[in-house]
């Protein structure tokens, strides 16, 4: 295997001299990992609602995410609007888009009942591809990135340096998670959404219209992408097919979290981020994806309902 003897290695492996550093290397790795994790959480939250709570196999979530990033990019490029602000600006449109998207999904699948799963997935894959191509035709295949005061600077703590981008991602992600968690637990609509996730029948008997509620929830899930998309393009440049890189990651986070648990999503994402960051820093970096997804498989094998799963 490659990252064995014939290849030197970073961090501590083999090289005595470096072991001294590996302690605060580890510390850095953990800190950066937590920040990265929060970023992952931010891009997964929407999915955690749409897939986690509504059981919509939303494979196009990352594609929507990239789409949002491009919207933010345009606002930033054309009018010099700050990416985060841009993200907020497009949020209402995304909400409406979400409502429409769910309506279409419902009419074509859930209404027909049995195994919407398979077709739903295919459907969203189709949507994702269409979005990819439209983006390519519009913007070309090159990467795009935004400019903002907090991109490219770092925050010094001793000899540790933390990129502002990630600090922003951290703050926003944390805020977003708390907001959503509160929304779902405190507001009437939020509780209704959770109820739908638990037991549609019960809700129907209570006279509420589950479809309406699910549509609303999907709207929320899509609206969140405004900010998530902004973070995506703040943290790293985006290109039209970037979504493929995030299908695995986002679903990994949501499933590992246990469906529909917002705080769970945050924690799972942080675990993923830290694992990735530590492997990148201290071991054969090229193994990073294997590690994080093996982690997911492990969790699923032991606890199919995820770390914070609600289902028995």
């Amino acid at each position: 295997m490659r990252s064995g003897a014939d290849r030197g290695s970073g961090g501590c492996a083999g090289r005595g001299g470096l072991c001294v550093f590996s302690i605060d290397l580890l510390l850095d790795a953990v800190v950066l990992g937590v920040l990265l994790g929060c970023f992952y959480a931010a891009v997964s939250l929407g999915l955690s609602v749409s897939f986690g709570l509504l059981d919509v196999p939303h494979v196009a979530h990352p594609a929507f995410l990239v789409l949002a990033s491009y919207a933010v990019f345009v606002l930033n490029e054309q009018y010099g609007i700050d990416p985060l602000l841009g993200g907020l600006l497009i949020t209402p449109f995304l909400f409406l888009f979400g409502l429409a998207a769910y309506r279409l999904y419902y009419e074509t699948f859930e209404k027909r009942g049995s195994d919407a799963g398979v077709r739903g997935i295919a459907f969203f894959f189709g949507i994702a591809f269409i979005i990819e191509v439209l983006l390519i035709l519009q913007f070309g295949v090159d990467q795009r990135s935004v400019t903002a005061s907090y991109i490219g600077k770092a925050w010094r703590i001793g000899d540790m340096r933390i990129p502002f981008r990630l600090v922003v991602a951290f703050g926003v992600a944390a805020g977003l998670t708390i907001l959503l968690a509160l929304y779902l637990s405190k507001t009437f609509m939020g509780r209704a959404i959770r109820a739908v996730a638990q037991d549609q029948e019960a809700l129907r008997l209570m006279g509420a219209n589950p479809i309406r509620i699910k549509q609303w929830a999907f709207g929320i899930a899509t609206a969140v992408l405004g900010i998530s998309g902004a973070l995506l393009i703040i943290v790293a440049p985006v290109d039209p097919v970037l979504d493929r890189a995030y299908i695995g990651r986002t679903f990994c986070v949501v499933v590992m979290a246990g469906l529909g648990s917002m705080t769970g999503t945050l924690v799972a994402a942080i675990i993923l981020g830290v694992a990735e960051s530590i492997v990148l820093t201290l071991f054969g970096a090229s193994w990073a994806p294997a590690i994080s997804f093996a982690l997911l498989l492990g969790v699923l094998a032991v606890r199919p309902q995820g770390l914070f799963g609600r289902r028995s």
Binding site: R7, Q143, P163
Partner: protein, 414 residues
């Protein structure tokens, strides 16, 4: 085996026969190729194709070859190896093309090497890396100025050593091309007995490079050799800019793919300053040959509506050069006989807009003309700046040198 070479020969003859018979009613000379127009290599593929198309228009304006118009037959290989065998079979068996060009890049090219060898056909390579080393096809000619496999690692590490560097760090994308580069870098480092203090391959789709750069920094190398891909190059430089890389680093860069493309460079802007990276063509005085300026005048115009790299330094002129070489060969040989063309290409030096090209036995350039250049005084969000000389100062090779290294890296970044 024998049976197959026979078959190959007979087909080659058939092709030759067909064409010579065809001269009468003057059908066009067909040049067939696949070109990545979707997928990871699309950006480069499109620029490269534009270069070739410009040559086609020029040569047709000059009245074509052997009195026949030149026509391109191009298919998209989706940047993947699995598409090209069918495509090239289509080109040969259905479209009956006269000359084959290879797609841009190693992955799509690799599967067709055995095919062309088996059929004894000439193949003009297009920026693939060492695809012929195992196959050993003597009718293969690569337009890329790589030269010997280890040349650019050698030149980069040499620059670093001259700047007083002793230890090396290797950071590479865990993908095909980057890995080929880093392998040679390991050998060179061993040869120059420079200890490798850090050697990591980061996986594709890595989002955040801060932690890996942090680890690299901790290894305190003098020379950092990076072989990365376009999506990652930006992330790496950002992280370097934020995390810092340590004052002891003399030179940074070497094999970063992407820093040759206009859009990517524009994106990164001032982050590029100080980076020493490989390139193939740059707008420095020393780089202009007969026809070079005219080519770029045309390219710059057509790049806009073609929605491809507005600069097009990296690939386009070499696509054009491929055309020029085949043009000279056909003119000299006076026919489309593959063997004769190959013989001519192998034995002569060819005048092209990227300078004179002579091939070694393996079909790579006799000596490397891979540039190592340092970015200087780059500002953010400005495409035009890259058209001026002095923005990328050529440090290697000596005959094209246009300036001296500024070291250490941290100093050069300011």
């Amino acid at each position: 085996m024998k049976r197959r070479t026979l078959l190959g020969a007979s087909i080659a003859l058939a092709v030759a026969g067909l064409t010579s018979g065809a001269v009468a009613q003057q059908p066009p000379i067909k040049i067939g190729m696949s070109m990545p127009q979707t997928g990871g290599l699309a950006g480069g593929g499109k620029a490269s194709l534009l270069g070739i198309e410009i040559w086609r228009d020029d040569v047709n304006a000059r009245g074509g070859l052997l009195g026949r118009k030149v026509e391109l037959v191009v298919y998209d290989d989706k940047s993947s190896a699995s598409e090209t065998p069918a495509i090239y079979s289509k080109l040969l068996d259905v479209d009956k093309v006269d000359i084959l060009f290879a797609p841009y890049g190693t992955v799509p090219t690799a599967p067709i090497m055995p095919l062309v060898k088996q059929r004894g056909l000439l193949l003009m390579g297009n920026f693939s890396f060492q695809v012929n080393s195992k196959v050993g096809h003597d009718m293969w000619f690569n337009n890329a100025p790589w030269g010997p496999a280890d040349s650019w690692a050698a030149s980069f590490l040499d620059i670093g050593q001259k700047a007083g560097g002793k230890t090396v760090a290797l950071l590479s994308a865990d993908q095909e091309f980057a890995q080929n580069l880093v392998v040679t870098a390991r050998d060179v480092a061993k040869r120059l007995n420079m200890p490798v203090v850090f050697d990591q391959a980061y996986p594709p789709n890595t989002v955040e490079f801060s932690s890996i750069i942090r680890a690299l920094k901790a290894a305190k190398p003098d020379i950092v050799y990076v072989s990365s891909y376009p999506p990652d190059s930006a992330g790496i430089l950002r992280a370097v800019n934020e995390i810092g890389i340590g004052d002891n680093v003399k030179v940074f860069g070497g094999g970063m793919v992407g820093l040759q493309f206009g859009a990517v460079m524009e994106n990164m802007g001032s982050l590029l300053n100080g980076v020493v990276n490989y390139n193939t063509w740059l707008p420095e005085k020393s780089m202009y040959n007969e026809g070079t300026k005219e080519f770029f005048d045309t390219y710059t115009k057509r790049a806009i509506e073609a929605k491809v790299d507005p600069l097009g330094y990296y690939l386009a002129p070499f696509g054009y050069a491929n055309g020029q070489m085949i043009e000279q060969a056909i003119k000299a040989v006076g026919s489309l006989d593959q063997k004769a063309l190959a013989k001519y290409l192998r034995e002569n030096t060819h005048k092209t807009i990227v300078g004179p090209i002579a091939f070694a036995a393996d079909g790579e350039w006799k000596q490397s003309a891979t540039l190592q250049a340092q970015f200087r005084g780059i500002v953010d969000k400005n495409m035009e700046q890259f058209r001026q000389p002095g923005k990328q100062v050529i440090l290697f090779p000596a005959n094209l040198k246009s300036g001296d290294l500024v070291a250490p890296f941290e100093a050069a970044r300011k």
